[in-house]
Symmetry: C2
Subunit: 332 residues, 2 copies
């Protein structure tokens, strides 16, 4: 964490200086989390390659612990804590994969973990966190209630907060997926990842740039939630969209750190329509035989709508997660 | 193929003597097909292990070429043909995975391939075979029409028939999946595989017995189509059931060779209800994040209904295929 960058706050805030995660941080994270995560397989499909005239390599983070890449960042952040800090536990607010990932990492370290969730979070999501041994604290379904509940827990227990994406250690952890992919396939032209809060994409960009600066890194987001694209085009962080994309993991907007990393490394963003995202889910299930959440098919969705993006290229694609509510969607 | 066994024909036929495939055949198959197939990953789930108090290792043949283990047997049979025989091509009758597998293997060898299908086979199944470059010949949807159409093609073109399961080379090829699994996890107590025609199960039994005779091999089939169980219990090959299980790949009954192998190696058969098979599909999709066809979840279905089968054990499970009609079942 030696590089520094000027950060452009949304609105009229003054600029701030925060250390950005570096390639060395990603390498250190890979070593730190190796005992706790899967080195996930990379799948290919001749049929998909033929469809797009490209060679596509899918890095299956849906087959990761807790079913998503988030296990990487959470483990890196939790295992970096000193014993004194760690013993008071960790806390975050999340009703999704980050909550499960933090619960998983905390159990491995043997420390308390509290996940703040809105009281309208589905029981299945609460149960998933409890299964990993964490405590769920419910609050009103507003951002201010979430934050004040978290503050309260921090003051009461001394728990350390682990943010879902805007954190150098979390970003470095997420970057280890791309690191493994590039180790397995060193001659990639492009690496693609979805972008919501930007933790995965910024980690991916740091890893790719560190390993081989000639690799082009492309982020993909829903066309109806293209705040990352607009943020990078305007140079001003855009607020989250009000529309609800089917890719529910990508409804957040960039954080200060992730925005800076993506700016700094000139990451390009493409978009996919809702129809293309859903078509992407089908094709990945049909051709790769894997279960993916819609947030994970936004990359393939963008390729479906613009095959020229990848034509003739070797393209690594980070499949971010597989936490689809199968019973609600599938009728066997 | 040096072992011989007396074969009990269904009904009053006299006994016949046919060479049974051996462990040496499986080892030779592994070397022969290695350039053409994936060494498929083995997945685990802590949640599934906790549910059943066992350690389950899922060998993902749904991630194999053509989405099923059948690519192994077809490649072994096709690449064993001498050039003179091969140049006339290969033929089979199948509306399922074996047809795709044979088309795949024939394309690799660069020889003609004809797949006989009933004229009511879904267009998507015909297209899948044509995609691999084979010729589809439609016939009336009866077994006699299938066989006479095949005979006709063989006489006309000199094509060599490759049966779906009752063939020593096909069986030896299917056994390579278990061989890889046991190489990766040498201390398994049990290996389970689904049983329809018995090609996968008999190959699995030969591989497991050859590598480590202390491994227990268990076959699983639908309770409403338990002809393999009854065949082995009575010592007389039972006809296919008239009921239509959801596990459509398991509607066939044992062949002469597969029946003999399973008898010879004392393979035990367990069953799963239709509900348990479907529950198995859900759990494998939810927990392993993979797409499986119902034929592939009959093993987990049997475990769901009788967890004592595996309690405290290390269990390898061959996941036979992932060719589920996703668009018909899933609504994202």
């Amino acid at each position: 964490m030696c590089k520094k960058a000027e950060l452009h706050e949304h609105g009229s805030d003054p600029t701030v200086t925060i250390p950005l995660p570096t390639f060395a941080d990603v390498l250190a994270a890979a070593e730190r989390i190796q005992p706790f995560i899967h080195r996930t397989p990379v799948l290919t499909s001749q049929a998909l390659n033929n469809m797009f005239g490209a060679q596509l390599y899918f890095k299956c983070e849906n087959l990761q612990k807790i079913g998503a890449f988030k296990a990487r960042g959470a483990c890196n952040a939790v295992f970096m804590l000193d014993d004194e800090t760690a013993q008071h536990g960790v806390v975050t607010h999340s009703s999704g994969n980050h909550g499960q990932a933090l619960a998983y990492a905390a159990r491995l370290r043997g420390i308390p973990c509290t996940i703040v969730m809105p009281n309208n979070a589905p029981a299945v999501k609460q149960d998933a966190v409890v299964e990993y041994g964490a405590t769920v604290v419910l609050c009103e379904p507003t951002l201010s209630a979430r934050l004040s509940t978290m503050q309260d827990i921090m003051h009461r227990t001394g728990a350390h907060p682990i943010p879902p994406y805007d954190d150098a250690l979390v970003i470095a952890g997420q970057g280890t997926a791309a690191l493994e992919l590039i180790e397995d396939y060193p001659d990639l032209d492009i690496v693609m990842a979805p972008v919501g809060g930007g933790g995965l994409l910024s980690g991916t960009a740091i890893a790719a740039n560190g390993r081989d600066p000639s690799i082009t890194v492309i982020g993909a987001e829903p066309a109806i939630a293209d705040d990352a694209k607009r943020s990078l085009e305007t140079g001003i962080r855009q607020p989250p969209p009000s529309t609800l994309t089917v890719a529910d993991g990508l409804r957040t907007s960039l954080g200060e750190i992730t925005f800076s990393v993506l700016q700094y490394l000139n990451v390009h963003i493409v978009t996919a329509s809702e129809d293309a995202i859903i078509e992407g889910v089908y094709r990945m299930m049909e051709r790769l035989k894997i279960v993916v959440e819609p947030s994970a098919s936004v990359t393939l969705g963008a390729i479906i709508e613009d095959p020229l993006l990848v034509a003739g290229k070797k393209v690594g694609i980070i499949v971010c997660g597989g936490n689809l509510d199968v019973r609600n969607y599938l009728r066997v």
